[in-house]
């Protein structure tokens, strides 16, 4: 018996719906994560990366020779 015989008789009529349920669960999970209040600070940090992408410079000495 070949794999294709097994698959043909496996009764996979609901196969497509499983995909839909999988997707919707993943979607709900991600939405939950994205909007959880815990994420607020981290999201804001990430959001500002484009405008703050100049590297953080080490504190310069107040006086005297260059660092």
């Amino acid at each position: 018996m070949k794999l294709s015989d097994i698959m043909s008789h496996a009764g996979l009529t609901g196969y497509a719906e499983v995909a839909l349920i999988l997707f919707i669960s993943a979607f709900l999970g991600i939405t939950w994560y994205v909007f959880s209040p815990r994420q607020k600070r981290s999201m804001e940090e990430a959001r500002r990366l484009t405008v703050d992408d100049e590297p953080i410079r080490p504190p310069r000495p107040q006086s005297g020779a260059d660092a």
């Binding site: 698959m7 043909s8 997707f23 405008v51 992408d53 410079r57 080490p58």
Partner: protein
């Protein structure tokens, strides 16, 4: 605590290289596009040269604008933004250079092989196997360089643009490898390991996702970096961008089968493709809204700054194309639009609008920074913007009308219930004014491109004698990640951890895990689609009377592929009344089980050929290929006069048959004496042409194989009993 700074600099030389390459290949790709647009309006434009004919240049145009222009644009932006977002230099300068030169060599190979007729006949995957291997190698090098850069980053967060780049890199690799699996027949010729409906399914799983992961996700990454940069404000909603990312990655993979509605693909697969395509509308518009709202409060800048103008129209074009895409995937809309210019209009809204304008905006923003001087002319950039925008409007208006016109004419019935326009050429002649308008729109866009190049050249000439390489300083990432602050309660059960999103924060810090998740999303979705199509027998019922092509017909089929006939002629009659009236019985999946690769086509610039066999006498085909207008005065098909002059390569036929047999095509006796069989059939066919009053001595010319193939198309299914010999093989002893 003191911050330990590390010094480093960014590699902008590689970004400059990619930027110049983007312009050069963009210009080439668009020039070829204009040339083939003119060839459709007037076939004489190809000067009768094989390598300038539409069928061979169309793939060159699509490959050049997708992989050369948009590809280099993606690399330009990715190399610039990744270094800055990750606060580190690229992992290896040598790998960056290998990536750059490797990619350009691939493009040159494509530009040489496609006009010469070396093609796999799969849309956007036309390049033959040695070039496919080169692409895989260069892509892997790019991936190593990119992930190496992530590994040595100095910024904890991976900004969403980096996510989009990661998804693009891994998915393109998967798509490229699986769709291009083939068995070589010669140094530049191969047969796909898949056949018929399965090949079609793989191809459009690839084809649609090439649009998704080569033209959409990379450019969304660029949008999320360069739009906030140019507007000088952070993205409107970072949360929305994450939702946008995951939903786009999840949904796109499923959407491919919408390219195959009403074809011989199983119904469930095309319904699934439609459903996911419609769902895609939402995240896409989420992304568009996110882009546009980033500009809130900065609209005044849009008036003054050409960069933002380009971005605004690009994002709007993204919105239009991603509304239209889901709409086109709805079966009833698709029934009208498929095979017409509507699809061409749709892709050009996306390519010229979204990819083109986003690239131009990004590059006008980059030029002063990379060449370390002021942009040569702001005014000229402004003029470029208007040329490009009006070019798109003219192009789109003309080609949308062409698509609708032809689609409606094909399905029109008169009051007696017969086709109102039974002559296919009537529906073509109607489009010619629109084809000229399209060429005019394309010219406007190209003029803008030339201005862009001139502006870049002049800016480059004002560069400093030596580029300044600023030294950056940033603290290294402390490894491992510091524990959460003591105020946070100790982690509880799985659910508590989940609700605090602790898991995702961990994934986000772990690019490897993140990448694995993207791969899982892509692979799971793909398997859900592919496994049933490949393994459930009832999906592709076999038809006993369908037999493999004879050796001569197989050689003819390869010529059909070489000349790119599938770019204008489909071989797939849909089960719609107007199609069966016009072309005959609709196509069954079982009819193309021996077709490595499938040649269903995606556009009908000429009529469908699935039932061409036996429709006309052999001599008709000889004359028609030599001079189509001697038979159909208004035809826009180019002449293929060289087929009657070129000698047919009989010596190569045995190898072709052997490879087909290896792929499981039941060739029987032909594996031993393919060449002799081909000779016999060719002589018999040449005699028949002669007896019909045609030219003598065609028995050893390419045309004979082509006619044999065309006369075989769709005849098997008409045979009642299995095992009968095909019409065209009657002369074979």
């Amino acid at each position: 605590m003191t911050v330990q700074g590390e010094s480093f600099s960014y590699d902008d030389a590689i970004v400059r290289k990619f930027m110049v390459a983007t312009f050069i290949w963009g210009l080439v790709g668009m020039l070829v596009g204009l040339l083939i647009a003119l060839e459709l309006a007037n076939p004489a434009v190809n000067l009768g040269l094989p390598w300038l004919s539409f069928g061979r240049l169309r793939p060159l145009h699509t490959n050049a604008v997708i992989f050369a222009f948009a590809g280099n644009a993606f690399f330009t932006g990715a190399y610039y933004s990744s270094q800055r977002l990750l606060k580190t230099r690229m992992f290896s300068d040598a790998l960056s250079r290998f990536h750059f030169w490797g990619w350009q060599i691939i493009i040159v190979c494509a530009a040489l092989t496609l006009p010469l007729g070396y093609t796999q006949a799969k849309e956007y995957a036309e390049l033959e196997w040695p070039i496919d291997i080169m692409i895989a190698v260069v892509w892997v090098v790019f991936a190593i360089n990119f992930f190496g850069t992530i590994a040595k980053r100095r910024e904890r967060h991976l900004y969403v643009a980096i996510w989009f780049y990661i998804a693009s890199i891994v998915t393109v690799a998967i798509l490229h490898i699986f769709n291009n699996l083939s068995i070589p027949v010669g140094p530049l010729k191969s047969y796909s390991i898949y056949a018929g409906a399965q090949d079609a399914f793989m191809q459009w799983w690839y084809g649609h996702n090439a649009v998704a992961f080569f033209l959409t996700t990379p450019f969304l990454g660029l949008m999320y970096y360069f739009l906030p940069k140019a507007a000088d404000r952070p993205v409107f909603s970072y949360r929305l961008s994450i939702l946008h990312f995951w939903t786009v990655v999840f949904l796109y993979i499923w959407a491919g089968p919408h390219h195959l509605h009403y074809t011989a693909l199983p119904e469930w697969a095309s319904t699934l493709g439609m459903l996911f395509s419609v769902m895609l509308w939402m995240p896409s518009w989420g992304g568009m809204i996110n882009g546009l709202l980033t500009l809130r409060g900065a609209w005044k800048k849009v008036v003054e700054d050409p960069v933002l103008k380009f971005f605004v129209v690009a994002v709007t074009a993204y919105g239009m194309a991603t509304f239209e895409g889901p709409m086109l995937s709805v079966k009833s809309v698709n029934a009208l639009a498929h095979y017409t210019d509507w699809i061409i209009a749709h892709v050009h809204t996306g390519a010229l609008g979204w990819n083109g304008l986003l690239t131009f905006g990004m590059m006008y923003w980059l030029m002063p920074r990379l060449f370390q001087t002021k942009l040569h002319s702001q005014k000229m950039a402004e003029v470029h913007f208007w040329f490009a925008t009006f070019g798109i409007i003219l192009y789109a208006t003309a080609i949308y009308s062409a698509g609708l016109t032809q689609g409606l004419m094909w399905r029109a019935f008169d009051e007696t219930g017969r086709l109102q326009f039974p002559d296919f050429v009537e529906t073509v002649v109607k489009l010619l004014p629109m084809y000229w308008a399209r060429a005019a729109g394309g010219t406007l866009y190209l003029v803008g491109m030339v201005l862009f190049g001139y502006n870049m050249l002049m800016t480059w000439r004002k560069r400093p004698a030596k580029y300044e390489v600023p030294v950056q300083t940033a603290p290294a990432l402390i490894s491992p990640y510091p524990p959460p602050p003591a105020t946070a309660p100790a982690p509880g059960g799985v659910l508590t951890r989940f609700s605090r999103a602790a898991y995702h924060r961990t994934w986000e810090r772990l690019p490897l895990t993140f990448t694995v998740l993207v791969v899982v999303a892509v692979v799971v979705a793909s398997l859900f689609e592919i496994i049933p199509t490949f393994l459930i027998k009832s999906n592709i019922p076999t038809i006993a009377s369908v037999k493999p092509y004879t050796p001569l017909e197989l050689a003819g089929r390869d010529l059909y592929i070489r000349e790119g006939c599938f770019n204008c002629h489909s071989q797939m009659i849909r089960p719609l009344r107007h199609e069966t009236e016009r072309y005959g019985e609709y196509s069954k999946p079982g009819e193309s089980v021996y077709d490595h690769p499938f040649l269903w086509g995606s556009r009908r610039i000429g009529p469908d050929l699935a039932r061409e066999g036996g429709k006309y006498p052999d001599l008709w085909h000889v004359r028609h290929m030599d001079d189509p207008r001697s038979i159909t005065p208004k035809s826009i098909m180019p002449s293929y006069a060289w087929l009657a002059k070129n000698p047919l390569d009989f010596g190569g036929i045995q190898k072709r048959v052997d490879v087909m047999a290896m792929l499981g095509v039941p060739y029987g006796d032909a594996v031993n004496r393919a060449e002799a069989m081909a000779h016999n059939q060719a002589q018999a066919l040449a005699k028949s042409i002669e007896s019909q009053g045609g030219p003598k001595g065609l028995g050893d010319r390419e045309i004979i194989a082509m006619v044999a193939y065309l006369q075989r198309l769709g005849v098997d299914i008409k045979k009642a009993a299995p095992g009968t010999v095909a019409r065209a093989t009657a002369g074979v002893p």
